[in-house]
């Protein structure tokens, strides 16, 4: 029997996403991913000052805060060919790293864990058995009063107002953890929620505030006065707290989940990976990146190719934009043309980026596999160690679970490295150079946001922004079919997924959430009904 299933909106993501699948005898046989909101930032930027672009683009998203800002300033710095001072390079690396260290644990615990952890089951856990489990998994983790956690969960449930836990598919057959494992993860969910506040605070030390930092400028950063021993120690102290959390709570939890759901090391995978690379390690060599750039095709981890930007085209054939021409971003156009949701024709506000005509997955898994394939020792050790502890082989990385694993692995490797970047800050040295803008120029700013490869293409005409095009991670991962009819990564990854109960498609959510979708937030749509379902009226 063939049936269609629509999940709209997908929750526990950032932004507005609709997923439609075709299910044939309990297995997904086709899928369509639809971005349901148009922002128009690229249009807003036209005619504005190039050195103010970062203020506007940063507002694309308060989750991936800062990252668009730094990509914007980089695009202008590329256009005018200016190199920022060392202090600025280190500050920007610390801010980018701080973003990863905040966002990845939040994604694991608050945006994806409840696809695997049954909160209601935690209520029947044996507390001392939970303590033994916690001790065996991670003896150095912070002590937790599991009885108190269980009681406060019980109070929450008894109040009848499940709040953030409402609408979950509790009791679904796909949840296979024991009540004790569920209680442990529930307690860590709350711990992580308290902890992420501190990561945000850390970011604000050099950012000025979080979300949406104030300290970026074309030519450097404005936080020169904060580069002093007091602030550096404050940052280091919060960083070390985060590192403890990563080592004793986050990473062991992801390892345990991977070993508890081994079949998910073979579901929801993709095959092509793209990373622009991040964390500039040199003021003279732009290619010297802590996270290397690279391309992997058809899961060939041992054959990492260089990234050739000219091979990127954005397709619009199945998206709500005029025409069908695929364009290189520098020549990109944003001409919205809504024609109605039609899975046989146009069905998304996202364009479909392709590299050499192929759909590419970006994000933690892409970065980790590129680094692994290039023999980056920190990553080789971290990946091999993870797989050994989880009892899985390298093949298992190309999967839903592989994405969570990569996310945790890169968080650890980056957090461990950030202390060295802090050490290189020089109080008193310059953090900014002045820049004069040309009347005509073009530039590219590349980055790795936590969710994946990010690029801004700017053209400056008569000293103002002429054209501005952004290709963001979720466009790569969650975009629709292209002119050749090739599915986007999430659409392809969904094929073959078993769905035990179409009324409770938790298996589909596991895969979609594993991409950490971030489609840029804007207006929320509410319904007067207090139901779990919403009707969205378009137009």
């Amino acid at each position: 029997m063939v049936e269609r299933l629509v999940i709209d909106p997908v929750t526990r993501i950032e932004g507005h996403l609709k997923i439609e699948v075709e299910i044939n005898n309990g297995v997904v046989t086709d899928a369509w991913s639809s971005g349901t909101l148009f922002r128009g930032i690229e249009t807003i930027l036209q005619g504005r000052e190039p050195d103010e672009a970062w203020l506007i683009t940063q507002r694309l998203c308060g989750v991936c805060t800062y990252i668009h800002g730094v990509t914007s300033v980089r695009s202008v710095e590329d256009a005018v060919n200016v190199t920022v001072p060392e202090n600025a390079r280190h500050i920007r690396n610390l801010l980018t790293g701080g973003l990863f260290v905040h966002d990845h644990p939040v994604h694991f615990y608050h945006l994806s864990a409840l696809d695997w952890v049954d909160i209601v089951s935690a209520l029947s856990a044996d507390v001392s058995a939970t303590e033994s489990l916690a001790n065996s998994l991670s003896p150095n983790a912070p002590a937790i009063d599991f009885a108190a956690t269980q009681q406060s969960l019980q109070n929450f449930v008894d109040s009848g107002k499940l709040g953030p836990f409402a609408g979950g598919y509790w009791g679904h057959s796909a949840y296979t953890l024991s009540p004790e494992e569920n209680l442990l993860f529930a307690a860590h969910y709350l711990l992580a929620l308290r902890q992420q506040v501190k990561a945000g605070r850390m970011h604000a030390i050099f950012g000025g505030k979080n979300p949406h930092v104030q300290s970026l400028r074309v030519g450097g950063v404005t936080c020169q006065n904060e580069i002093n021993s007091t602030r550096i120690n404050e940052f280091r102290s919060l960083l070390n707290e985060m590192r403890d959390f990563i080592d004793t709570v986050y990473l062991p939890d992801v390892q345990h989940l991977a070993s508890a759901y081994p079949e998910w090391g073979a579901i929801g995978g993709f095959k092509n990976y793209l990373a622009f690379g991040e964390f500039q390690m040199s003021n003279t060599d732009q290619g010297d990146l802590f996270l290397p750039a690279g391309v992997i095709m058809d899961k060939n981890i041992n054959q990492v190719s260089d990234v050739m930007l000219g091979e990127i085209n954005e397709h619009v054939r199945h998206s709500w934009y005029a025409g069908s021409t695929a364009r290189y971003p520098q020549n990109g156009e944003t001409v919205p043309n809504y024609t109605g949701y039609d899975t046989t024709d146009r069905y998304s506000w996202l364009k479909a980026p392709r590299y050499q005509g192929e759909p590419m997955e970006v994000g933690p898994l892409a970065r980790v596999l590129v680094a692994y394939g290039m023999g980056h020792s920190a990553f080789v050790n971290a990946v091999d160690s993870f797989l050994a502890k989880a009892g899985l082989g390298i093949e298992a990385m190309h999967s839903t679970m592989g994405r969570s694993a990569a996310r945790a692995i890169e968080t650890k490797v980056i957090a461990d490295e950030m202390g060295y970047w802090l050490d290189q800050l020089q109080p008193g040295a310059s953090a900014r150079v002045s820049v004069s803008l040309p009347s005509q120029a073009s530039g590219i700013g590349l980055n790795e946001a936590p969710r994946g490869a990010l690029g801004h293409w700017i053209s400056i005409e008569n000293q103002k922004i002429g054209n501005y095009q952004m290709v963001v991670p979720s466009t790569w991962n969650l975009g629709p079919r292209c002119g050749s009819g090739l599915r986007g990564p999430v659409e392809e990854a969904l094929i073959g997924t078993p769905v035990a109960n179409p009324e409770q498609p938790v298996e589909i959510l596991r895969i979609v959430h594993s991409y950490d979708p971030c489609l840029a937030c804007a207006v929320h749509v509410t319904d007067n009904d207090q139901d779990t379902h919403y009707t969205v009226k378009l137009g």
Partner: protein, 169 residues
């Protein structure tokens, strides 16, 4: 004479709402009015919380008393100003009142769950117009704005904060 009910060390005066949705932004407008026309003793912090939702956990967690200015949909006449205590507020978590309130009330629920919620009082104004797009307040809510301001100032004084009018320009 105002009788001080308690002396709090860290009073957070938080205005939340989306100013682009007409009356939805009244809480933010009130905090801006406070900033423009008054100065406060050191233990008082004014914060325009906008639509930050969960991002407010840091500020909320550091306060020992919180006064929230916000829209409040309770079926009363537009412009009606009401006062809700923390426990009355928690009872409203299930109901989806307005667009940002979905995340702000959930933020309160989370903060409470995590043991980070201070003693809280909300001064709410019944809205008339929550539509997009514009920053103008409806007549009823514009007329209620000075009353909301007065009520928030009263709460600040009751919590032990000092209020000094700034010389008007």
């Amino acid at each position: 004479m105002i009788k001080v009910m308690q002396n709090k060390n860290n009073i957070l005066v938080l205005g939340v709402g989306n100013i682009l949705l007409h009356d939805e932004g009244i809480g933010v407008h009130v905090v801006r009015d406070l900033e423009e026309h008054y100065s406060f003793s050191e233990q008082v912090t004014l914060l325009d919380g906008g639509t930050l939702g969960m991002r407010l956990l840091n500020a909320i967690g550091q306060a020992d008393y919180m006064i929230v200015a916000d829209t409040l949909c309770s079926g009363k006449a537009p412009g009606t100003v009401s006062r809700l205590t923390g426990s009355e507020l928690k009872g409203r978590v299930a109901a989806k009142n307005s667009q940002h309130q979905v995340s702000f009330l959930e933020t309160i629920a989370y903060a409470d769950f995590l043991g980070m919620l201070p003693e809280t009082v909300m001064i709410g104004c019944e809205p008339k117009d929550l539509s997009a797009w514009g920053t103008e307040l409806s007549l009823e809510v514009a007329e209620a704005r000075p009353l909301m301001l007065e009520k928030v100032l009263e709460e600040i004084r009751l919590a032990g904060g000092e209020v000094r009018p700034l010389a008007d320009a």
